[in-house]
Amino acid sequence: MTALALPTRRDEDFRYADLEALAPLWPVLVETIEVAAGGSGALTIVASADAPVRSLSITLGAGAAFDLRILNAGLAYGRIALSVRLDDGADFTLGAAQLGSASETLEIVTTVTHGAPNATSRQTVRSVLAGHATGTYLGKVAVARGADGTDAAQSVRAMLLDRTATANAKPELEIFADDVKCAHGCAVGELDAQALFYMASRGVPPAQAKRLMLQAFIAEAFVGAADEDALTAAALERLETLV
């Protein structure tokens, strides 16, 4: 990669980024993953201080499958950018959880391109934000001309534990084919007060009740992962510090 200029807020993909934290890490090396036709792969990224900002370029050959899980938590600034290109009949799964507190800035930015017919993509992103944390998901699904039979889904939900936290969510579709199925759902909310009282009325203390509900909320991002238990445990550990 050539030495690109540091992005500014005018760059859509960096609109909510922590540019100050990004500057010393720039330019970010793009990691490439290629899965040959008919092959399959999986990757789990647990954000760490060693590599807080990552950029992945994933190319899936015809009929290939890739399962990516992300736990973005515990960093002052954590950013994971994905550029995914799907060939005929390829299948891509993203399950990501972002858990932020204090003034942390966490973001996941994806572009999933259905370049050929009959590819499927499923993106599930769950964010839990406390304090003054900011959690962002910018996700673009691009369906190329002729990529009929595309099936793309984005499910993006954020839970704000404090009114001072911020969630940005922008699922985006760019479709140039006729016969496609693209679904996106997006919601930002707070923990259900009724459910919290119901649990309290049975004897569950408030913090424990919140943890139970958030655990279930985050689990949606990790369902079916090869290391589901380990990821859930890691997320739970982080949750303990949020409520």
């Binding site: 309290a200 004897g203 569950v204 424990q208 279930a216």
Partner: protein
């Protein structure tokens, strides 16, 4: 011994007065029914007793005399509210120091539960992603912890849950599902009673537990209430619109709640008169 003593209780919801000087004493071993027209304050009373946020007590007191030992707090640090003990001489002091009069209104909802208060919901809440088994084990063990009792193991808990599910004729498989999600109205009410069986409270407030039940379910739920709660050391406050449930769970006292106060008290025959003549005629 009086289990629950409500004195001159007034409460508002969103600034609007709903309860206006309600007084009621419920003794150990007794089942009381509260009936009343829509908007009389029946559900408000149950939420005030349970401590639901948004239901503000403006005057009066509620004293619970629990047979359960209570240590306060959730074991996870300093509790924001401590039980306040009544200064008046105890009517029936036990040598263990249990059965103290406790100011219920000073406690957080989960602390009231640990003291032995159970609130049966008119509309049980769905909690996606959290199974009944997980939720109830957490509930029971949180209560036990607050009382200084050892937690139940997974195996012990499942045995208890199976026993109570069978009592209420609820398929144990349903308790492996997320809390109330996809349950019919009747199943939700049965599940409420299974929860009551597992938590084994000293005092239960059941808010329209009979609504949404078909005739067979009504009998099962009624039998369940009797099996779990009809004990010399327990008491029940049944809130209902209809006399039907009272055929199965025979109350010792029936109260009519109207405009935020108890306006009439009688025996089971009062419920029959209400059914026949209506609130306006009987309460006038």
């Amino acid at each position: 011994m009086t289990v629950l003593h409500i004195t001159n209780l007034s409460a508002t919801v969103a600034g609007k007065p709903i309860l206006k000087g309600l007084s009621l004493a419920i003794g150990a071993g007794e089942i009381h029914a509260i009936m009343g027209p829509n908007g009389a304050g029946k559900s408000t009373l149950s939420y005030v007793l349970g401590g639901r946020p948004g239901y503000e007590v403006t005057s009066g007191s509620v004293t619970l005399t629990s047979p359960l030992p209570f240590r306060g707090g959730d074991g996870g640090g300093v509790s924001p509210v401590r039980p306040r003990f009544d200064d008046s001489p105890h009517p029936n002091p036990s040598p263990e120091g249990e059965g103290l009069n406790i100011d219920l209104l000073a406690l957080a909802p989960h602390e009231r539960a640990a003291l032995g208060l159970f609130l049966g919901f008119q509309y049980p809440v769905e909690i996606p992603g959290v199974s009944f088994v997980q939720f109830l084990r957490e509930s029971l063990n949180s209560q036990r912890k607050a009382r200084g009792e050892a937690p139940l193991s997974g195996g012990e808990f499942l045995k208890l849950a199976r026993e109570k599910a069978a009592l209420l004729k609820l398929d144990m498989e349903m308790l492996k599902r997320p809390v109330n999600v996809g349950f019919s109205g009747g199943e939700k009410k049965r599940a409420e009673m299974v929860q009551m069986g597992i938590l084994d409270p000293a005092f239960a407030v059941l808010d329209e537990t009979d609504s949404g039940l078909d005739i067979d379910a009504l009998r099962v739920v009624g039998d369940g209430i009797n099996a779990i709660m009809r004990r010399p050391d327990k008491a029940v406050l049944l809130i209902t619109h209809y006399q039907r449930l009272l055929d199965y769970v025979r109350p010792d006292f029936v109260h009519i709640l109207s405009a935020g106060r108890i306006v009439k008290t009688g025996g089971p025959e009062l419920a029959h008169r209400l059914e026949a003549e209506g609130y306006e005629a009987v309460a006038a």
